[in-house]
C-alpha cells in the first residue's frame, strides 16, 4: 500500500519539475584534502592524521606491551589468527591473553587485538571489514582496541577506501577513539567504545 502511494506521490511531484538536474560530471580529487596528504610514505601520512584524532600508532609489539603494562590494561582478547605473531608475545610480557571472546564477560577484556583490514592515510582511519575480522565486539567493548595493520593495506584517500568496499556487508572506519562532546562541548573519549585506539603496524 505505502509503497505504491509513495512512488505515485514522487512521480507526481517530480513530473512538474521543469528542468531536471543532470548528474554532475566530477573528479573525486576535488574532495582530497591536500594539507592532510602531505608526504610520500602512506604510513607516515596515516600516523600524522591518526595522531591528530588522538589515535596511537605503534610499530612494535614491545611498544604495545609496554603501553598496556603501564596503563594497567592487563587482560585482553587476541584474534586467534594473530596469536602466534602478537598474542603470544603479549602473554610472554606478562599480560593475560584469551583467544576466545565470551559475551557474558564483555566487561573483563581490557584490551582487544583484532585485524584491521585497511587504513585511510588521509583521514587517519582504521578499516574493519566484517568478512575478515574475528569479533566486532572485541574491537568495541575493551578500553583499548589494537588494530593490526599491514603496510600494503594502507589506502591513500577516502575515495580510494570507498572504491574497495567490495562485497562485505559491513565495513566500519574508526577514526580515533570513541568520543562525545555532548556535555558542554567538552571532549570526552571512551563513551561506549574504546578510550584508546591503537594502530599496530606489522
Amino acid at each position: 500500500m505505502s509503497r505504491a502511494a509513495i512512488f505515485a506521490k514522487i512521480e507526481s511531484a517530480t513530473s512538474s519539475i521543469k528542468e531536471k538536474a543532470a548528474y554532475p560530471d566530477y573528479d573525486l580529487s576535488i574532495v582530497h584534502s591536500l594539507p592532510k596528504l602531505k608526504g610520500e610514505d602512506l604510513w607516515d601520512i596515516f600516523v600524522h592524521n591518526f595522531s591528530y584524532v588522538n589515535g596511537k600508532a605503534m610499530t612494535s609489539i614491545e611498544q604495545l606491551s609496554a603501553f598496556l603494562l603501564e596503563t594497567k590494561q592487563l587482560h585482553g582478547y587476541c584474534d586467534p589468527a594473530l596469536y602466534d605473531t602478537i598474542g603470544s608475545k603479549l602473554a610472554a610480557a606478562g599480560l593475560t591473553v584469551e583467544t576466545e571472546y565470551h559475551r557474558d564477560r564483555y566487561d573483563e577484556y581490557q584490551f582487544g587485538v583484532t585485524r584491521a583490514t585497511g587504513a585511510i592515510a588521509e583521514s587517519g582511519s582504521v578499516i574493519i571489514d566484517d568478512d575478515r575480522t574475528s569479533h566486532r565486539l572485541a574491537a568495541l567493548s575493551p578500553w583499548v582496541h589494537v588494530a593490526v595493520l599491514e603496510r600494503s593495506e594502507i589506502l591513500r584517500t577516502i575515495p580510494d577506501a570507498i572504491a574497495v568496499f567490495g562485497d562485505s556487508p559491513n565495513i566500519i572506519w574508526c577514526t580515533g577513539p570513541s568520543k562525545t562532546a555532548d556535555v558542554e562541548g567538552i571532549l570526552i573519549e571512551g563513551v561506549h567504545g574504546p578510550g584508546e585506539q591503537i594502530a599496530l603496524l606489522v
Binding site: I6, K9, Y106, A163, T175, K179, V191
Partner: protein, 466 residues
C-alpha cells in the same frame, strides 16, 4: 492584530543559564567548522555546490533511485518496507519487532525516529526502548526534547545532567564532572546493549547502486547497539538516497566538517545486509523502512531544496535567532533555519500553527553561507512567508503593507510624506499607542529626521550646473 511572535516570546522567557549554554555551544561549533573546512580546502564552495547538484539530481529522479536502492537491498537479503505516514512507520516497526519477539532494544540517534515519536510509542506497546547516544539518553531520562540536530542537549549544562543522573538512579552520588558523567553512562548503557534483542538506527545516506547505508556516530553507540543483537531496523527518510557509493566521498567529507569540525566522524559504518556467515557478532536480520511522512509534499512544493539537507546542524550553530531563542522555540523536531523551512511544510497539517517559524529570521543568510549542500534558506523562508500571506494565515505582530505599497508607488505622496517626516523630530512618537513601535523605540534612539534634504541638495546642485 499586533502581538508578540511565539519565538520572540520564547527568547524573552528562556532562562539566562539555558541561553548561555545555547550561545556558547553554537558559537564554538561555528568557529571550529570554519577553521577546519577552510584549512583543508582552498575553495569549499565548489564542493558545496557539487554536493547540492548531486542531491538535486537525485531528488529530481527520486523514483528511479529509490527503486534502485530497494532492489539492491533486497538482493543483499535485506527486508525493505515503505511507510507513507508517521503512523505507518510506527506500526511497521512494531510489527517487525513483534515478528522477531523483541521486547528490549537500544536505539541510536535518528532524526527520522524523533519525527515520528517512536520511543514513547514503542514503550507504550511494551517494548523497552533506550536511547544510546549520550545526549539523547539524557533527553529520554528527562522526558525532554532535543534542541539541536547534532547536539541534542546543547541547552543543558553539567549540573542539569548530574542532577538527572542522581534522580534517575544512574548513580547514587552527585558528580558533575563531564568525564564522570560519561563513564556512568558507559557502564549503564553497555549492560543494556548486551541485554537487547534489536537495534534501531537511522541512516545518513543510502547508496542506490549497492544499497549500502552509511551510518555515522562519534560515540560508537550504533556499532555497539547492533553488535550483540540479532535484528537491525533502519528507519530512513526517502530523501536519504544518493546515486552511488562514489558520491559518499563528497558527502562524508562535508558532513563531519560541517557538523563538528571533524574530517570524518569517529565511526563511519557501511551496511548492506545481515552479518557475514563467519562473523559471530551483528544482526542476522536487517530491515530498512523507507519513510515518506510529508517528504513527497516537500518535493512537490517550491521549497524542495530543503530535502538536500544532510542534518549537520551548521545552520543552527551560526543562526543568531537560534542562538537567542534555542531549538525548543521552534516547537517541532527540527529547529533553527532548517526547521524554520522544513517543519511547516513537512508537517503540513501544522502549517498555520508553524507559519511564524519562517518569519523568525532577519534573512541574514549566514545559514546559506555555511550549508554544506548550499540550500538557499533565506529564499525558502521568503517563499513560505508569501505562502502564509496567500493562504491568509494570521500572524502576530504583522504590519499591514498595502498602505506602504500605495505610498511607495505614488511619488508625489512619497515626496510629501518624506518632507513632512521632519515634523517627527518634534513629536513624542514614543508614546503613540502602537506596541511594536513602543518596543522598538524603547530600545533604540532614532536618528534625526532629515526628510527631503538630499533631494533639495541634489536639485540645487543640478541648477548650479546648468
Amino acid at each position: 492584530m499586533i502581538g508578540i511572535q511565539p519565538i520572540d516570546q520564547y527568547a524573552r522567557d528562556i532562562s539566562d543559564e539555558k541561553q548561555a549554554s545555547v550561545i556558547d555551544g553554537s558559537s564554538k561549533g561555528t568557529d571550529k567548522r570554519y577553521t577546519v573546512l577552510h584549512k583543508d580546502y582552498p575553495d569549499p564552495d565548489k564542493i558545496r555546490k557539487l554536493a547540492a547538484s548531486i542531491k538535486d539530481h537525485t531528488l529530481h529522479h527520486l523514483e528511479h533511485y529509490l527503486e534502485k536502492a530497494e532492489k539492491s537491498l533486497i538482493a543483499r537479503g535485506v527486508n525493505v518496507h515503505f511507510a507513507s505516514t508517521d503512523e505507518d512507520a510506527r506500526q511497521t516497526i512494531l510489527s517487525i519487532l513483534r515478528s522477531h519477539g523483541v521486547t528490549q532494544l537500544t536505539k541510536s540517534k535518528s532524526m527520522a525516529a524523533e519525527e515520528i515519536h517512536l520511543n514513547p510509542f514503542l514503550i507504550e506497546n511494551g517494548v523497552e526502548c533506550l536511547e544510546s547516544d549520550l545526549g539523547e539518553f539524557i533527553i529520554q531520562l528527562d522526558g525532554d526534547e532535543p534542541s539541536h540536530i547534532v547536539k541534542p542537549i546543547i541547552h543543558l549544562n553539567r549540573r542539569d545532567i548530574a542532577k538527572t543522573f542522581l534522580r534517575e538512579g544512574i548513580t547514587d552520588t552527585y558528580n558533575d564532572d563531564p568525564e564522570t558523567i560519561t563513564r556512568q553512562a558507559r557502564v549503564y548503557l553497555r549492560e543494556k546493549y548486551m541485554q537487547a534483542q534489536a537495534g534501531i538506527t537511522g541512516a545518513n545516506f543510502v547508496c542506490s547502486d549497492t544499497g549500502r547505508l552509511a551510518l555515522i556516530t562519534n560515540e560508537g553507540n550504533s556499532r555497539f547497539g547492533m553488535a550483540p543483537v540479532p535484528v537491525h531496523i533502519a528507519l530512513v527518510g526517502i530523501e536519504k538516497v544518493i546515486p552511488q557509493e562514489k558520491d559518499l566521498a563528497v558527502f562524508l567529507n562535508l558532513l563531519g566538517r560541517s557538523a563538528t569540525g571533524q574530517q570524518l566522524t569517529v565511526y563511519t559504518e557501511f551496511i548492506n545486509g545481515p552479518r557475514s556467515a563467519n562473523q559471530p557478532d551483528g544482526p542476522e536480520h536487517m530491515h530498512v523502512v523507507f519513510m515518506d511522512n510529508g517528504r513527497t509534499d516537500v518535493l512537490a512544493s517550491n521549497c524542495k531544496e530543503i530535502l538536500r539537507c544532510i542534518r549537520c546542524g551548521a545552520c543552527q550553530n551560526v543562526c543568531p535567532v537560534y542562538r537567542q531563542a534555542s531549538g525548543h522555540a521552534y516547537r517541532s523536531t527540527y529547529g533553527g533555519p532548517v526547521g524554520a523551512v522544513l517543519s511547516p511544510i513537512l508537517f503540513g497539517s501544522r502549517f498555520p500553527e508553524l507559519a511564524d517559524l519562517p518569519k523568525a529570521s532577519s534573512l541574514c543568510g549566514a545559514c546559506n553561507e555555511v550549508c554544506p549542500v548550499d540550500i538557499p534558506i533565506p529564499d525558502l523562508l521568503l517563499r513560505l512567508r508569501d505562502k502564509a500571506k496567500r493562504e491568509s494565515v494570521p500572524s502576530a505582530g504583522a504590519i499591514p503593507m498595502s498602505p506602504f505599497a500605495h505610498l511607495a508607488t505614488t511619488p508625489s505622496f512619497w515626496r510629501t510624506a518624506i518632507t513632512m517626516s521632519k515634523a517627527m523630530n518634534h513629536l513624542p512618537i514614543q508614546v503613540a499607542p502602537i506596541k511594536p513601535l513602543q518596543d522598538w523605540l524603547g530600545q533604540r534612539t532614532l536618528p534625526e529626521w532629515h526628510g527631503g534634504d538630499f533631494r533639495k541638495w541634489m536639485k540645487n546642485r543640478e541648477k548650479a550646473k546648468s
